[in-house]
Symmetry: C3
Subunit: 263 residues, 3 copies
């Protein structure tokens, strides 16, 4: 059996010592734990970004992996820490809905309240070090999740993701801008983005329905299916985000184009 | 027994191959070493930043962990490389005082001069790869630190950390600005920041003495005890650094407020 | 025997879930693999930067290390994925020449075409997750590289690296700007940069031929041999890139100075 995997996703950056302190706490409790950095560059306190990040990452890990997520505008308030099982993945998350767009079968959800698995002294401002890290370490040592607290009966949702069906299509928005300026939306698409749909972002029509970045001339705006199954708008060899001044929240509309008369 | 841990803290960033080269050198000498990235985003050559980073990170690691620190304006000059034991932590640092605010019991300090543990060819500009990395690898293989060189009898201090007691309080400064724009000062505080103190940063009075970020309305400036035991000035759900145009070195004054007459 | 090492070099950044997904895919196929992040901060689609990064990093790793490189403007087009042996290092790279400045003896080159080692569903836009990651995992499990595809008989070169000999010297260019603003050129130098050469960058003469950053007063521009054996132009305790507004591609000329008459 391999040593247990613990992944880390935070908005701490690494110029501050917060991530380093969490790593130290985990390794002190379980020196055999194997740490995997997913990201420390989630934009500060951006729960939506974290949610779509996790949706694109968590499902690929081996069964039983423990994912620690600290993107937490509510640190120091009464918001709970949750242990959530999704498929065969195990997550420790603030109760802010950041896990709600991961499409895996929901298992147990537990409110993490048993202070026996926390650090002795819990600060008001750094639950990552004082709660998340030690609880993850104890889980990796084999602690049964039911020992962490009571089963949760309610939890926060992820706010502000808008998608509405309209008569001839769907109205959604950009939910994620990747490193290359590609715009990922919250609109699910089939394996091919058909040329018979019309995609509009803001006031701009994206007419080209391509399969991949290489399908069109440099500078062309294309709509394609992202590697996560969501509609994506990209500029070939460019940044759609810059070109369109688009960002998270920019509205995107997809309409079914009326059929052309056959030739 | 677990494989040995070696942490890395540098100002190299990761767009350059310097960190990667160090990792390769360590793993070639000791393939069983387990590397833990603490940070490669220390601001370039900012020894003070490195010092407070280390103070917030090193203490949490398992006994015997080897911490390699390369933040080194003096590379290529005559500044020494030091092996320093602090509590049960072992550090390899440039002799620039970067380890001087870690509050752990000082053990051995050795000047690393024995070239048997260096790379055969030592460049003038990349001691991280040619001295720090191989020495760390040899330590992780069980080399006795006394073999690395002579006991050190003097070493550099950390310059420019100013804190002076004044009649009714203390005069300090911002020493660290974290990812969220929170301002960490060099003023040690007790477990609670009392409402009976007055905190001034630059010309601005920070009247609210809160316990945590969630204690006050968004936009409020609060003074609180940071998770590292130092006085911290934060804006609730905002960036105190931006709000106050504050940065490392901005003066902070704490005064004991005269007691209010009891009601 | 130690668990196999797989290094990762990408231009994905870590705010997006792409690197995380690759790590998950690798660890799901081979939970014993040890992942080493080299960089996720290669400038987007900058193959030249990746090439010089790899030249400064790959050679230091233990024999048999698998290096996964995804800096790939051509994703989704017909460009091949190559398995390349260089010295005792093993690379998985897009066929864009990013491995061509690594000075190690070339061994096998194989076009990676056998879909048995890919993910079942291969997206058009994310070969890192769907081809590179699973192939690396299978290699780490002991799959013989010849099973990956046919031997390659041609491959892309790295475009646009210009170096020409001129009558009294060599004409090259800046190929890499490091974190500190030091300018690394494509001009190979001996162990010492002699004072009898004249280095010109753009219109500026760099008169000082130093050995290291500490050899001259702060602010001095010096030409020295970089830790990778290439001519480097640096400003002592400053940024030569800023000072000279230099960037990748800025021309650099080295001329042999006429001998001074001996005294």
């Amino acid at each position: 059996m391999n040593d247990p995997l613990i992944t880390l996703t935070t908005d701490f950056g690494t110029a501050s010592p917060y991530v380093a302190a969490m790593k130290g706490v985990i390794l002190s409790l379980n020196p055999a734990a194997r740490l995997v950095d997913l990201s420390h560059d989630i934009p500060p306190q951006d729960v939506r970004h974290a949610a779509f990040f996790l949706a694109g990452a968590v499902r690929y890990f081996p069964a039983g992996t423990i994912h620690v997520v600290v993107v937490d505008p509510g640190v120091g308030t009464e918001r709970a820490v949750l242990y959530v099982e999704l498929g065969k993945q195990r997550l420790l998350v603030p109760d802010n809905g950041c896990w709600k767009v991961i499409h895996l079968r929901l298992g147990s959800i537990i409110r993490v309240t048993n202070r026996n698995y926390w650090r002795n002294e819990v600060s008001n401002t750094f639950h990552g070090r004082d709660i998340f890290a030690p609880v993850a370490a104890h889980l990796s040592l084999g602690v049964d999740p039911v020992a962490l607290g009571e089963e949760a009966t309610e939890w926060a949702n992820l706010d502000g993701i808008r998608m509405t069906l309209i008569e001839d299509g769907v109205h959604g928005e950009v939910v994620f801008v990747d490193t290359f300026g590609n715009l990922i939306t919250n609109i699910v698409t089939g394996p091919c983005v058909s040329r018979s749909i019309k995609v509009t972002i803001g006031d701009i029509a994206v007419t080209q329905g391509g399969k991949t970045y290489g399908d069109a001339a440099p500078g062309t705006l294309i709509a394609l299916r992202s590697s996560f199954g969501l509609l994506e708008i990209a500029e070939v060899q460019g940044s759609a985000a810059k070109r369109l001044s688009a960002k998270v929240g920019t509205p995107v509309v997809v309409r079914i184009a009326p059929s052309e008369p056959e030739a």
